[in-house]
Amino acid sequence: MTNTSRITTISVTLLILALAAPLLLGQPFYINIGSQVLIAAIFAMSLNILVGYGGMTSIGHAAYLGTSAYVVALLTLQHGFSFYSASAVALLVVVIMAAIFGAIALRGTGITFLMITLALGQTMWGVAFRWSDVTGGDNGLPDIKRPDLFGLNLVEPGLFYAVMIALFMVALAGMWIFIHSGLGLSLQGTRDQPRRMGMLGHHVWLVRWIAFIIAGFWAGVAGIAFIGYHGYIHPLSLGLANSAEVLLMVIAGGAGTLLGPVVGATIVVVLKMVVSAYVSRWVLLLGCTFVAIVILLPEGVVPGLERLLKSILPAARDDGEAGS
């Protein structure tokens, strides 16, 4: 077995254990944490397309999750849509929004791109906050009912968690396929050598724009899961803090790795849960963690662990051969 496949085996085993853990613990409290982690993980994976694979640091990604959730909330509450048809519309809206915002943000690169995404993200926050006739303003929109699925009532935490596992697996598989696809390779090439990629025939701007839309789409999916779970949406969900939180998940876990955002999402969600139980200073901790991670662990947990495993594994393999 090669080291790479060993690492894959270890990762898959850990992933299955992690997914099973809330069910083994049994209590709804843990199962609900599991659902929140998975929603955050899908959200973080979507941002990872931009930050990790595209080298485009966006600080406005919460706008897509939030807009998607708002659309579902508005359509189900005020226009009699079913949850699922509202979700379809939400995805369409988010894709169109990502196409427009992407076209604007990609007028800039690097830090300018970052600044524009931040500004655009705050626009959506501003709309949600100020357009209170429709969005409920600072009160948010409460009481969105969790839907049934195949006759099963998803209010039951275990069932909802099972659906989240399925959704997460689809997202993870989709991500794996994407990063190994022609477009995915092209995107990673434009991250490392945009000029060369252009000369090789890759349309750098278009590749980035499509990636922006795909990232928006998956953030929209996360938004649907989010509103399904919480049944409530508030302007804060579109805000800067939420965008920073998901960026922290990606960077802490390891940008540009498949499982990094998943690990990052787990760390951030659990940390937030634990901290909030004792003090109300989550934002302070978020800020300090951000600074600490960027300075002390800039490449994230997953690449760090990977290197650690690689340094341990050759020895293990030699032992195995000596033993056999």
Partner: protein, 248 residues
Amino acid sequence: MTAEIALQINGMTKNFGGLKAIDRVDLTIPKGDRRLLLGPNGAGKTTLFNLITGDLKPTAGSVQLFGRDITGLASHHCAPLGLARTYQIITLFPKNTLAENVVLSLLGISPLRWSPISRIKGRKEFEERARAALKQVGLDAKADRPLGETSYGEKRRLEIALALAQNPSLLLLDEPLAGLSRQERLDVQALIESIPRDITLILIEHDMDVALALADSITVMYHGRVICEGDRAQVVADPRVKEIYLAS
């Protein structure tokens, strides 16, 4: 007639602010030619490459590639038209293996570059052609090594492999020997000599021995202008060329 001309540049001019980096350059490269662009630093050679490949937009003038007007066309249009180039500063993909580097080049002229689902790794047409391109530059043994494990000289050859993999009609080589040791220079010289004659070459190079040995014809640039053109004997005999090179 036009079919026999690989590259035709007319009245090319590029201003940066008040500075004329390229000043009314005309250049005609026949198909199959191996042309050396010569000139001191700042003569505008690389700028001229950047204008041909669409990295820069010309202030005035036109570029025709095999009779087709490509003036101001964005650089991603070059590869499908058979125009490839290498860079003076190594411009490769640091996180990938050598084979993956070449695959990105092959992908650039494949419609699969737009597919968000088709897995590229393991596809025969990519794997085999990547290996063939690496073999051409003598790097096939290191195909699966990460770029970080290769020497500078090997990176120079990989630069050329990325361009050759696309099987271009016109290849622009920007100082392919820059920073190489004596032995590596000879290796890369042999490599360039082995490039099939139906690929038209334009070469920027400062190593006169190698460059003159490789080139069929020479264009000398100075301060953004073409000052002399011809074969080796004509250029060496030109008084202006002597003046520039003796002065510098």
